[in-house]
Amino acid sequence: MKGLAIRNQRAFASGALFLAFAVFFFVTALQYPAGTAAKMGPGYFPRALAIVLAAIGLVVILSAVKPAAEAQALRRWDLKGLAWITGSVVLFGALLFPLGLVGALFVLVMVSSRASPEFTWTGALANAAVLIVLCLAVFVYGLGLPLPVWPSFLN
């Protein structure tokens, strides 16, 4: 199998992603009764779709290793930016009830701002202040959304 080189890394990874999802859904769907074509159970459609997706995944993988495939490398990953952004969202979810909207928004703005290469403390602090006031005015007082504004220990 020496002739099989992964010429198109991007397509190969895409195909592998499809295949992995297909296997996951197919195996999970085995727990549900399939029924027959005339009287389908909850497992029929998921299995059919998973088989289609697996086939697509295989075609994409094959197209990535065939000798005529266009050579394409994977793009560089910037895990730092992703971590700051995703982390700030998770923190917002975790802190909204204990800290209230004001505190959670402050953390969200400060943490997500770190993702920018042009981060400055004063800029981020000012931005956080403006956005918190804006959100309180629009969402809490304007639209009356049921959001906890202050930390729970103050109530």
């Binding site: 859904f25 952004i85 995703t86 920018s116």
Partner: protein
């Protein structure tokens, strides 16, 4: 005439002060996010969706629609002044619009885009009003197998028209459909792929997914590429096109409008496709093809008319058949569901004031946009001087509050965080996200109609091909796949869809 009677109902609804206000608000917001690169109508509508819960249904839909077509106006401003598409539908406008700006004709280019958009908006509103009745009547001929075939056609076309290899687009559609199966199976009542998590029993919510992929992951992507904005520094003075400009722009506007009106209706169509097609057409037909890329006014007039027409007529399949033609329309389904309105032929009969009010509001909105955009263009350009490092935390804040507000719970916030990571993987693998979302939205209806059709035919799949209507829809889908396999068309498509 029925049409005039219906339009009168629409005017009565659209002209209510509250609805006028929300139309204005939608258009204003649409222009704003249209001008700002990196924030599109999709993320904005997803962001505001939960908040519309507090509004009247007609006000909510009028506002959300205003965001979509308002963004088409705003997008052209950025394209012309900064050479950066504010929206993906104004990518082609950058080509000639920015050249016109460099020649000191930014004002004329902006006016051309606004006039073209306004004209196209008026025609598309009329087309929507005129076609709605007949198409709704056709919808009554549709049974489960016809709906199944129509949705398959829509999904195939959406993959054909998405960027990247066709097979990967289809893969994303199927993956989206699989994700849509999470939750309670309506036929048997049993749980699928929920793994005992009660929040998943109602299925994966569309909004956290859209927000994670098109809101958060988009920010990570934007932060990686540091495009420096190159503003055209000179003041925008002369807005008035010359007589010669008018002579050249009018036919382009007419053609762009016609093309956009047609392509918007197509499943998988909408604003982006229309603008690309119009640019190609104008370049082909022009007596001055050598001027394209160097500031040809047709290159602005055609695509800008086409994208606005396409944005509006893409409401036709949604309102008449209940089938979204693109992802923004899929979000509109979400908005309708919040207010217990089921998109499809019943909207027109059960909610005539909402239906016609929405259509007429589009015309009213276009008028507002003309006023918002031309005299105030200087203000919008100023907006572009806000650095992205202040802008993206604001997007994060609005998205997070929007996601939380879906159910007043933090589960959706974590869901959005997961899909942020997933969306970033898609960016890196260059897999298109739009087909995934369409598959997610249409998945349950496809399964439902497929199962019903199979029950009726006692498990005989051939029934899909024996009914003339469903057979021709499936044949159209097959032809689309065959066409895309042809090498010449494949090369053309790659050229047109590359970005």
């Amino acid at each position: 005439m029925d049409l005039f009677h219906n339009l009168a109902i629409g005017f009565a609804t659209a002209a209510q002060p509250a609805n006028l206000l929300y139309a204005f608000f939608g258009c204003l917001l649409g222009t704003l996010i249209g001008v700002l690169p990196g924030l599109g109508p999709l993320a904005t509508i997803a962001m505001l969706l939960p908040i519309t819960y507090a509004l009247q249904p007609d006000a909510a839909l009028i506002m959300l629609a205003g965001i979509y077509y308002g963004a088409q106006y705003g997008g052209s401003t950025t394209a012309i002044v900064v050479n950066l598409p504010g929206e993906s539908s104004s990518v082609v406008t950058t080509i000639d619009g920015y050249q016109m700006a460099k020649q000191g004709r930014a004002g004329v280019a902006l006016a051309t885009a606004a006039i073209g958009s306004f004209f196209a908006g008026c025609v598309a509103t009329l087309a929507l009003a005129a076609l709605a009745g007949p198409l709704t009547a056709t919808a009554l001929l549709f049974g489960p197998k016809e709906f199944f075939a129509l949705m398959i056609l829509g999904l195939i076309l959406a993959s054909v028209l998405s960027s990247g290899p066709f097979i990967e687009g289809i893969g994303m559609v199927v993956l989206g459909m699989l994700l849509s199966l999470v939750g309670t199976d309506l036929n048997s009542g049993s749980q699928r792929f929920a793994f005992g998590v009660p929040q998943l029993f109602d299925g994966l919510d569309f909004v956290p997914l859209a927000m994670g992929i098109f809101g958060f992951a988009e920010i990570v992507k934007n932060l990686e590429q540091d495009d420096k904005l190159s503003l055209v520094t000179q003041k925008i003075t002369n807005l008035f096109p010359t007589r010669e400009d008018f002579r050249r722009m009018v036919p382009a506007i007419l053609r762009g409008t016609a093309l956009g009106t047609l392509l918007g209706v197509l499943p998988g169509g909408g604003a982006v496709l229309s603008s690309f097609a119009s640019y190609t057409l104008e370049k082909k037909l022009s007596r001055y093809p050598e001027q394209f890329g160097k500031g040809a006014i047709e290159g602005v007039a055609g695509p800008e008319s086409a994208n606005n027409a396409g944005a509006q007529t893409s409401f036709i399949p949604l309102l008449t058949l209940g089938v979204p033609s693109n992802v923004v329309m899929a979000l509109m389904i979400g908005a309708m569901n919040i207010h217990n309105i089921h998109p499809g032929p019943e909207v027109m009969t059960k909610n005539p004031t909402l239906f016609w009010g929405l259509i007429v509001s589009m015309w009213v909105g276009n008028l507002m946009l003309l006023i918002l955009n031309l005299p105030l263009v200087g203000l919008w350009v100023k907006l572009l001087t806000i650095p992205y490092r202040y802008l993206f935390p604001a997007i994060m804040v609005f998205c997070s509050i929007g996601v939380y507000s879906i159910n007043s719970g933090t589960f959706e916030v974590y869901e959005a965080a997961v899909f942020c990571v997933f969306g970033y993987v898609l960016v890196k693998l260059q897999l298109p996200a739009a087909p995934l979302l369409l598959g997610l939205v249409l998945g349950p209806a496809i399964e439902e109609n497929f199962r019903r059709a199979m029950v009726l035919s006692r498990g005989d799949a051939m029934v899909l091909f024996t009914s003339p209507l469903s057979a021709s829809l499936l044949a159209a889908a097959a032809i689309a796949i065959l066409l895309i396999m042809l090498p010449t068309i494949r090369a053309r498509r790659e050229e047109a869809l590359q970005e």
